[in-house]
Symmetry: C2
Subunit: 351 residues, 2 copies
């Protein structure tokens, strides 16, 4: 028997073991499997099968006289089976309905993502998250200058997806409110629709070109734009919900160790960490599952990640769930997939 292909019976025993362990959280005994797997074989036979599975690394024993527990590889086999059979039977309608109810009819995209993370949390009881496409907010739509004091200006910049960034800039010299308005008009007329990078370059080019500026208005506008774009990064918007569930998990079993808990909480605080973690998995389409030790970060070896992408090309974002390795994969995969489909549809409908 080669590693890749398990016989039908062996595979079935493994699947039953994983399911049982996910439900009970306790090592599964051969007698239990004999009763539940529906194979009509005795515990002794199951024991033989289990011995093979253990040799191949799919299950392990916490101690000599205990039942079997799935290893990460065991989960992997189970999840792959699930993903295989799912292709036919996806049904995210209930998630989509919930999302609609939660987010309202005409949400901002950010609101939709926030709702998505919330729904994922509520349904899965694990930490839910949603990430906007990285270029989401990178297209310049509009700029506005609000005078605060003669030499201080609040800049409000709207980028695609109705995202609003703000910044206060200090001017070297006073600028009249009317000049600010005109500067904004000029910039809006000239640059709307370009990417932030393109705007940046265009602004610098023109400042260079028209070094001897007759038109003082333009000069002010371009300088303001330059200052505004300095150091403004369109940050990837990340929404996370359900951090409080971590405490619940920790009480149930200490399967999720405290250091893991802290890593996750810190991730909630520094959301960029999550983005970095996910970058590696944002390639393929559909639902991906990362289990335990498959994570690069050793602190997350006790966690699994279920993530699905939405959107296409560069405008690709992700939604997903982070929970303990022992999670209800079947339901979680359904839910995450449903959420991704719903978000994708919203995005399509809007364009």
């Amino acid at each position: 028997m080669t590693t890749g292909a398990l016989s039908d019976r062996t595979s079935r025993v493994l699947a039953c073991l994983v399911k049982d362990y996910i439900d009970s959280g306790e090592p599964v005994a051969s007698a239990t499997l004999s009763r539940r797997a529906g194979l009509g074989v005795s515990p002794a036979t199951i024991r033989n099968v289990l011995a093979q599975l253990e040799d191949m690394g799919y299950v392990s024993q916490p101690h000599t006289s205990a039942g079997r527990v799935p290893t990460d590889l065991g989960y992997r086999h189970y999840v792959d089976m699930l993903l295989e059979t799912r292709r036919a039977t996806r049904d995210g309608s209930s998630v989509e309905a919930r999302l609609r109810e939660q987010a309202g009819d005409a949400p901002l995209f950010d609101q939709l993502l926030s709702s998505a993370s919330h729904v994922l949390f509520e349904v899965s009881h694990h930490v839910g998250f949603a990430i906007a496409p990285s270029d989401m907010h990178a297209i310049f739509q509009r700029i506005e200058f609000v005078p605060l004091s003669p030499a201080r200006v609040l800049v409000v910049m709207v980028t695609r997806g109705s995202h609003v960034s703000q910044k206060v800039i200090e001017l070297s010299e006073a600028v009249a409110p009317s000049a600010l308005t005109q500067a904004a008009n000029y910039l809006n007329a000239e640059f709307a629709g370009l990417s932030l990078d393109e705007v940046r370059q265009a602004v610098l080019a023109r400042l260079e070109q028209e070094r001897t500026l007759y038109d003082e208005l333009r000069a002010v506008a371009l300088k303001l734009a330059r200052t505004t774009l300095e150091g403004i990064e369109a940050p990837t918007a990340v929404f996370i919900d359900g951090a409080s569930s971590l405490a619940g998990d920790a009480s149930a079993v200490s399967a999720v160790s405290l250091s893991t808990l802290r890593t996750l909480l810190r991730m909630v605080e520094e959301k960029q960490r999550l983005v970095r973690l996910l970058d590696a998995y944002l390639d393929g389409p559909g639902v991906a599952v990362v289990i335990g030790a498959e994570h690069p970060d050793p602190q997350l070896h006790a966690c699994s990640l279920v993530v699905a992408t939405y959107g296409e090309g560069a405008r690709r974002g992700a939604v997903g769930v982070i929970g303990p390795t022992r999670m209800h994969y079947s339901r979680t995969i359904s839910v995450v997939d449903g959420a991704a489909v719903a978000v994708a549809r919203f995005l399509r409908d809007q364009n």
Copy 2:
């Protein structure tokens, strides 16, 4: 000896006990106090004092043959002493420096508060928070309409303190972009500087008054304003940092129970809960400390709250720290006080 006034020696013993317990986390023995209190009396004498303190409810024994642990009342006495002596020796300069470094030179007020919560967390190693004055964002400064599609408009509203609110509204009929611009100009000219409530009322009044509207531009502007102000609440801005430290606390001692942990985490998620909790303590000026069972919420009986207000009158906000009852009060009070002073100064400088 009456309850209110402890003799000098008794008070000193209590203070020493509290300090020691805060450092060590373990019941303090009479011998230890005899050594450290600097009173030059034998353990037996200390035992007599402790027996009195126990009668009066300032300390308790976890079990018969253990040292003493301060009760909430004991902490209270200690903290009151601290607050008394602090009046002379406040020194928040290091906190202010840190805050400046963290927030940069010309931060938005929201950024300042966010930095404040972060600094409080870093210095105290407990959960730090900062709350903006409730009316902070309630003065209308400017409005802007960005067309998304013929019948959908993104409204960007700037209120005092450079706070930006946004909302998408659906129009019953298409409005030309130029009309939107003019509407914004009109509203900005008419209503800047009024409170949101005043704006709301004024808009309704004018709509009523000029029922037969010649000026279509005005009609559009007022209707847009009405729709915008519907259901827009200037939410109290709350910043919290350091939730991940909770996990650390929980590992150190389970003094902070899991249900408490969950309550706090949920508070981080639903920030309005924190505001509600604090409302009761936002009356007086200066630093307030709420210890253990003094909290109305029984889930927080294991926690203490150190909070200071800044600003005056209705424009009063708060900064503070939430941590276990056994926290380093002396340092925490310093830090919170320093942060409040720094924020207050920033607010004063800006006006």
